[in-house]
C-alpha cells in the first residue's frame, strides 16, 4: 500500500505509540482487503462501548491508547451499558457501573464525544454526501451509506478508533463506486403502513441479501424513522452495509437490470412479524432501537398522556433528543405516566437479562433479534400496541 510521508511518520512511531498501533491496524486491514492507499475521513462513530461486550480487556486497551492517542476528526460514541446519569434508578449494579464509567473516562481522554447513541446522525454527527467516514454500529453504517450517501465500511471498535486517531481509513469496499451498486432487486408488492412494516421488511430482506446491496422498488415514500429502522433490521439479520430505495435514497438511479429479483409481499410481511413473536405476556417493554427521534418521542408522549404505566417501560434515545423533549414538555408527560427514559443506552447493550426480565416487547426487529440471542423471549409489536401493553391493567 502506498503511504504519504505523513502516514509513514505515523507508522514509524514518530507521533507516539497509540498512533503507531492505529496505523499498523489500518495498514494491515488495507493489505488484507487490497486497498491501494489510505483516504482521509471526516467523521468517525465508535462501537464497542458497553462494558457488557468490552470486558476488562477493552478497558485496558482503551486506557493504553489514551496515554498518548487523541482523536483527529470528529468522533462520536455508540450507546453504553447504562444511562450514565440515572443508572441507579435503572437497577444497574454498582460494580458494573464503575467499570462502565472507566470505559467512558478512557474515551473522554481520547477526545471522543460522549454522545452514546447509535443515531449519531440525529445528534450532530451528520456527514455530507460523498464524505469518506469510518463508522461502527451496523445500523448507522447502513443509514450513512444509503440515506446520507456518505461512504463507510462496517468498522469494528478498534478499526474505527484507529481511523479516529489517525484521521484515515483504507480505501476499499464501500468507499469505492463499484462496490456501491445494487446486487439484488426487491419488488415490494405490499403497502408499508407503519415503521414496524419497514423493520420487518429489513429483517426479511437482510436474510436473503447477506453482504449484498439490495435495491427496493415499489416503496412510495419513507420517513427518516422508517429508513432508520429499515437500516437496523437489514444489518441484523444480514450483513447489509448499503441499500437503495427507488425514488427515496440519493444513489438509487434507474432500476438495475439483470439482477436476482426477490419479492416482499403481504404474506412475507405477516410471516416475518409472526416469526419474531414468542409466546407470553411481556414484563418489560422498550422502544428506541435505533434510538428514538424527537418525532417518535412526541408520538409516545401523545399515547401516554393522562395514562399510567403498569410495567417497566423504557424509551431509549440520545441525550440530545431527550433535551429537546424536555423543552417540548414531552418528558414530563412521559415520566408522569411512570415510563422511563433510557438515555446513553438501550435494551440490547444494557444487561437487562441480569435485571430479572424474561419477556420483552419491542417495535424493532433488530432488538428482537439480539434480545433472543441474549436468552430473552420477545414480542415484536407496533409502537401503539407496545404502549397499550405497558398501560394495560393486569
Amino acid at each position: 500500500m502506498l503511504l504519504t510521508t505523513a502516514e509513514q511518520h505515523m507508522l514509524s512511531g514518530r507521533e507516539g505509540h497509540a498512533t503507531k498501533k492505529c496505523m499498523e491496524i489500518l495498514v494491515a486491514l488495507g493489505e488484507i482487503y487490497g486497498a491501494k492507499r489510505l483516504v482521509k475521513v471526516s467523521s468517525v462513530q465508535v462501537s464497542g462501548v458497553s462494558y457488557k461486550n468490552l470486558g476488562d480487556a477493552g478497558i485496558e486497551f482503551l486506557s493504553d491508547l489514551a496515554k498518548d492517542g487523541r482523536a483527529r476528526v470528529r468522533t462520536t460514541l455508540n450507546p453504553a451499558g447504562m444511562d450514565l446519569a440515572n443508572w441507579r434508578t435503572q437497577g444497574i449494579d454498582e460494580g458494573f457501573a464503575n467499570k462502565q464509567l472507566q470505559v467512558i473516562d478512557a474515551f473522554g481522554k481520547l477526545g471522543v464525544e460522549i454522545s452514546c447513541t447509535c443515531t449519531p446522525y440525529l445528534a450532530g454527527n451528520e456527514p455530507s454526501f460523498g464524505d469518506h467516514i469510518a463508522w461502527g454500529e451496523s445500523s448507522a453504517v447502513a443509514y450513512a451509506n444509503s440515506v446520507l450517501g456518505a461512504r463507510t465500511n462496517r468498522e469494528g471498535g478498534p478499526s474505527a478508533l484507529a481511523a479516529s486517531l489517525t484521521g484515515r481509513t483504507p480505501l476499499y469496499g464501500f468507499h469505492l463506486d463499484e462496490n456501491r451498486v445494487p446486487t439484488m432487486l426487491v419488488d415490494v408488492t405490499t403497502a408499508l403502513k407503519t415503521m414496524e412494516d419497514y423493520s420487518a421488511m429489513g429483517y426479511f430482506v437482510g436474510k436473503k441479501a447477506g453482504n449484498g446491496v439490495p435495491y427496493f422498488r415499489g416503496v412510495k415514500r419513507a420517513a427518516l424513522e422508517d429508513l432508520k429502522t429499515l437500516s437496523a433490521a437489514l444489518a441484523s439479520s444480514g450483513g447489509v452495509a448499503m441499500y437503495h430505495v427507488e425514488g427515496v435514497t440519493p444513489e438509487a438511479n434507474a432500476s438495475p437490470r439483470g439482477l436476482d429479483v426477490c419479492q416482499f409481499s403481504r404474506r412475507d410481511l405477516a410471516e416475518t412479524a409472526s416469526a419474531l413473536n414468542d409466546e407470553g405476556s411481556p414484563d418489560f417493554i422498550s422502544v428506541g432501537c435505533p434510538h428514538c427521534s424527537l418525532k417518535e418521542v412526541a408520538t409516545i408522549a401523545g399515547l401516554l398522556r393522562g395514562r399510567s404505566v403498569r410495567r417497566e417501560f423504557w424509551i431509549c434515545c440520545s441525550r440530545k433528543v431527550k433535551l429537546l423533549s424536555d423543552r417540548k414538555g414531552f418528558t414530563k408527560t412521559i415520566e408522569d405516566s411512570g415510563a422511563k427514559f433510557a438515555c446513553d443506552t438501550c435494551m440490547v447493550v444494557a444487561p437487562i437479562e441480569d435485571l430479572g426480565f424474561k419477556i420483552v416487547a419491542t417495535n424493532s426487529a433488530k432488538a428482537a433479534h439480539y434480545l433472543r440471542n441474549n436468552g430473552l423471549r420477545v414480542r415484536f409489536w407496533p409502537l401503539e400496541k407496545c404502549v397499550k401493553e405497558a398501560t394495560r391493567t393486569a
Binding site: 498501533k21 499498523e24 491496524i25 494491515a28 486491514l29 493489505e31 488484507i32 462501537s47 464497542g48 461486550n53 468490552l54 470486558g55 476488562d56 480487556a57 477493552g58 485496558e60 486497551f61 461502527g136 469494528g156 471498535g157 478498534p158 478499526s159
Partner: protein
Amino acid sequence: MILKGRIIFNGDAEGEALVTSNPISFYGGVDPETGRVIDKGHELRGKSVAGKVLVFPYGKGSTVGSYVLYRLAKNNLAPAAIINERCETIVAVGAIISGIPCVDMIHIEKIRSGEPVRVKGAKVSL
C-alpha cells in the same frame, strides 16, 4: 519445510502447533482467563491456546473478539503466533494490538498438531 505467507503482524516466535480446520470466534469461544477454547462443538474445545502456534482458517464472530486476544496477551495466555489461511479484521486487529506474530495465505493442512513450528516474518518453518 518452509511455507511462505503474508505478514499480518511481523515477529519471530516458535511453539508447538495447535491446528484446527474450524474457524475460531474468540469472543465467547476462548476464555481469556484460562486460555482454553470453550466454544461448544469446536474441535479444540477444552484445549489451551497459551504459548501454542495457533493454526486455523480464519476468525469469525463479534469484532469484540480482538479484545479477547488482547486480554489473553495481558494474562500471558496468548498464542505464541497465529497462522491463518485468510486473515480477517478480528484476528488481524487482535494480533496487532496484542503483539502476536501473525501470518496468513498459508496452506494450513500442511501443518500437524503437536509439531514444532517457527514463524519468522512471512516464513513458517516446520
